[in-house]
């Protein structure tokens, strides 16, 4: 189930992040903290604090949080910013939905060498971002800075345009989706 996320101590998503995600992540880090495992293989978002991320934008309607819930527990989190403009020449200066942060629960990450509990959580959140872009009149345009382990997913599986490393963003690769790419991504059935 896809839901809008709220900030504050009463947020069920942030409670899940603290009660379920953090212990699972600590367990993963304990496993990875061995001499033969390079730090580059550690989860890149391990230090993210979603309470702070949400508190920073609480009350600002240009920022929204989304979550995917399954079996009563939050499986993925996303924060988006509606205040950004596109970079690639064909849509430069046009508004888009910028995915500020996207993270799936530690037990749903295939890169941590464990059996994945729920697949498709990241895809569901990205679908939500594109659908929101269409609803806001941005025609499906989205943008994001990819975590290095996810570059291939956005480029090859989502069909997004890779604008290369962004020196202003720790050299993370910046990806954008055009309206045509969005239509293809959401295509099938009644989605054109």
């Amino acid at each position: 189930m896809l839901t809008l996320m709220t900030a504050g101590a009463s947020s069920p998503q942030l409670r899940d992040w603290q009660i379920h995600w953090q212990p699972a992540l600590i367990e993963v880090l304990r496993e990875l903290n061995r001499p033969n495992v390079p730090v580059t293989q550690w989860p890149q978002s391990a230090h993210w604090d979603w309470r702070r991320k949400m508190a920073q934008v609480a009350g600002l309607l240009a920022y929204r949080g989304f979550s995917v819930t399954c079996a009563g527990v939050t499986q993925g989190l996303m924060q988006i910013d509606l205040n950004r403009l596109a970079y690639i020449p064909v849509q430069k200066g046009k508004p888009l939905v910028y995915v500020e942060y996207l993270e799936v629960a530690p037990w749903n990450r295939p890169d941590l060498g464990q059996a994945v509990r729920y697949r498709g959580v990241g895809t569901a959140l990205l679908v939500a971002a594109v659908a929101l872009s269409q609803e806001e009149g941005f025609r499906g345009r989205i943008g994001l800075h990819s975590l290095p382990q996810a570059d291939g997913f956005y480029r090859d599986r989502c069909g997004m345009t890779d604008l290369g490393p962004d020196p202003g963003y720790q050299n993370l690769r910046y990806f954008e989706m055009t309206p045509d790419q969005a239509a293809a991504f959401l295509g099938g059935e009644n989605g054109q």
Binding site: G59, L61, T123, L144
Partner: protein, 170 residues
């Protein structure tokens, strides 16, 4: 937000993810709310936000009248809800939807980002904008006819907004 697809569509999407890792976002440490500079609970910023929204309402009202539009005509032209437009112009506490800002920026051909900041939907990046917004609000009245002084205030504020970023392009 409405988005409906069949179970088969979703299963196909999930299969497409395969064993890929999915994640996005800056890796820098998270700033505390007070460090980030836009904690909504901060009283001085709430007051500043109120002043900005006052200026936003005045701005919409004046530029609408400058273009010779009634509220109904602007609602029709910008494809906006009439009640929302009335709230923007008259209700200091009203926060419009981002889509509304997008439509207004498009209709009036002003920078969307500056309008977002003015409406309190985005963090103010230019420290001069709140001062200019207050000055503009003080110089304008919501009377029926645009006076010479109001026209001068509107022109000056439009110039400030134009410096905030590229104009909206649809």
């Amino acid at each position: 937000m409405k988005f409906e697809r069949s179970k088969a569509w979703w299963l196909n999407k999930v299969r497409g993810e395969q064993d890929a890792f999915v994640g996005a976002g800056l890796l820098a440490r998270d700033l505390a709310p007070d460090e980030a500079g836009h904690d909504a609970a901060a009283a001085p910023e709430a007051a500043a936000g109120e002043e900005m929204r006052l200026a936003f309402g005045r701005f919409v009202s004046l530029i609408r009248r400058q273009r010779g539009l009634t509220v109904e005509q602007l609602a029709a032209r910008a494809d906006l809800d009439l009640a929302e437009l009335v709230s923007i112009e008259e209700d200091l506490c009203f926060q419009p939807e981002p889509r509304t800002i997008y439509q207004l920026a498009s209709t009036f051909d002003v920078p969307q980002q500056a309008l977002m900041q003015l409406a309190g939907l985005a963090v103010v990046r230019d420290t001069a904008l709140p001062q200019e917004a207050v000055r503009f609000a003080a110089r304008s009245e919501t009377t029926q006819k645009l006076s010479r002084e109001e026209k001068a205030a509107l022109d000056a504020f439009l110039a400030v907004l134009s410096q905030q970023g590229p104009k909206h392009r649809s």
